[in-house]
């Protein structure tokens, strides 16, 4: 069976547009530059760069309160640092948002040497956050599934990008 193509930045952009995302609140992940260039070139998408991932939670909550549809684009390390902000600003205010999270350290076989990966899913389970794993273009419909679940539950939902060393890349 042919292997699915790595997750391309065009695919991620297509999913964002399909789901009506208006604002990307983000802090660069290890390999997001190609996606950044695409997002920057899109006149309908506002980029809000943050200096710490937790700040993105309240910014996104404010955007949502004002009628926009933001998405958070961060790395798992920053997500873990953002715990209280996710709790208070996203879960507490019932913000139906998708967090697209680079899964640093992820290995398909489960043996990893990076504690960022070790604690990522445990963190999400502790918070009771639903999540979907996307490893390549063939999984990309899970991004739309995440948006639908966020809308249905009025809660944040996480997409883990499990191809971080190729994801969003060329």
């Amino acid at each position: 069976m042919a292997e699915a193509a790595a997750l391309s930045p065009e695919t991620v952009m297509r999913e964002m547009k399909k789901n009506g995302v208006t604002d990307i609140v983000w802090l660069p992940d290890s390999e997001t530059n190609w996606l950044y260039l695409l997002m920057q070139a899109d006149p309908d998408l506002r980029l809000v760069g943050v200096t710490r991932e937790g700040h993105g939670c309240s910014i996104a909550a404010g955007l949502f309160a004002g009628g926009r549809k933001p998405m958070l684009l961060i790395q798992n390390t920053g997500m873990m640092e953002s715990g209280d902000s996710i709790r208070g600003w996203l879960m507490g205010l019932n913000v139906p948002i998708v967090l697209m999270v680079g899964y640093r350290g992820y290995t398909r076989h489960g043996v990893n040497t990076d504690t960022a990966a070790t604690y990522t899913e445990r963190f999400l389970m502790a918070f009771g956050l639903e999540f979907f794993l996307v490893e390549n273009d063939g999984d990309s419909d899970r991004i739309s599934t995440a948006f639908a679940l966020a809308e249905k539950t009025q809660r944040p939902v996480v997409v883990l990008v499990g191809d971080e060393y190729h994801g969003f890349n060329r």
Partner: protein, 193 residues
């Protein structure tokens, strides 16, 4: 120094149709106004009000958004200041209530309480307008001009601490709506749902 209740009464006369995120002035502001355009969120997670104000201001560029933040909050998230300055929402008025202490935990001084120049922080981060105001007469005189200035505008307001020492479970709850309902009400009023 000013009393928070007094400066909010002064502000109320100039509020117009602004959306007001009452932040650390919430328990006094709710006595003045409690409409869907008043956003008493309590304390979802300390340090985040500035970001919420930024997001709301970006989402509603035709409405003035006024936030009453605190020095303790912005000290937790100074990195939000350059983000606000970069986004430069012309409709955002970022006031902080600087009482020099963590009032809700018994009044312990915030680090650098007598040293920090908060307007200096904001200016250095790129806010085009940032001032420190310590007296009510100065606030009365400067407020109309500040609200007429294109944002983002930052003003640090020196206020008397209102220290709470009673156990949290015994404190009087002043909010009439949960934070999630406040957001839903606002979205409804803005036609966002």
């Amino acid at each position: 120094m000013m009393h928070t209740a007094d400066l909010l009464k002064v502000f109320a006369a100039h509020r117009g149709d602004a959306i007001v995120i009452s932040g650390r002035g919430g328990k006094h502001w709710i006595e003045i106004s409690d409409t869907v355009m008043d956003i008493p969120l309590g304390d979802p997670a300390m340090g985040g009000h500035a970001g919420f104000g930024l997001g709301l201001a970006l989402a509603q560029p035709n409405k003035r958004v006024v936030l009453f933040d605190s020095e303790g909050d912005i000290l937790m998230s100074l990195g939000q200041l350059p983000t606000i300055a970069e986004q430069a929402p012309a409709n955002f008025y970022h006031f902080i209530l600087d009482n020099e202490v963590y009032a809700t935990t018994g009044g312990q001084p915030v680090p650098g309480s007598k040293l920090v120049d908060y307007a200096g922080f904001a200016k250095a981060a790129g806010y085009p307008t940032a001032v420190n105001i310590a007296e009510l007469d100065d606030f009365k005189r400067q407020l109309p001009g500040l609200l007429a200035t294109q944002g983002p505008v930052f003003a640090s307001l020196k206020v008397f601490p209102e220290v709470e020492n009673t156990p949290i479970g015994q404190r009087v709850r002043w909010r009439k709506r949960g934070a999630d309902k406040v957001v839903r009400d606002l979205r409804g009023a803005l036609g966002a749902q």
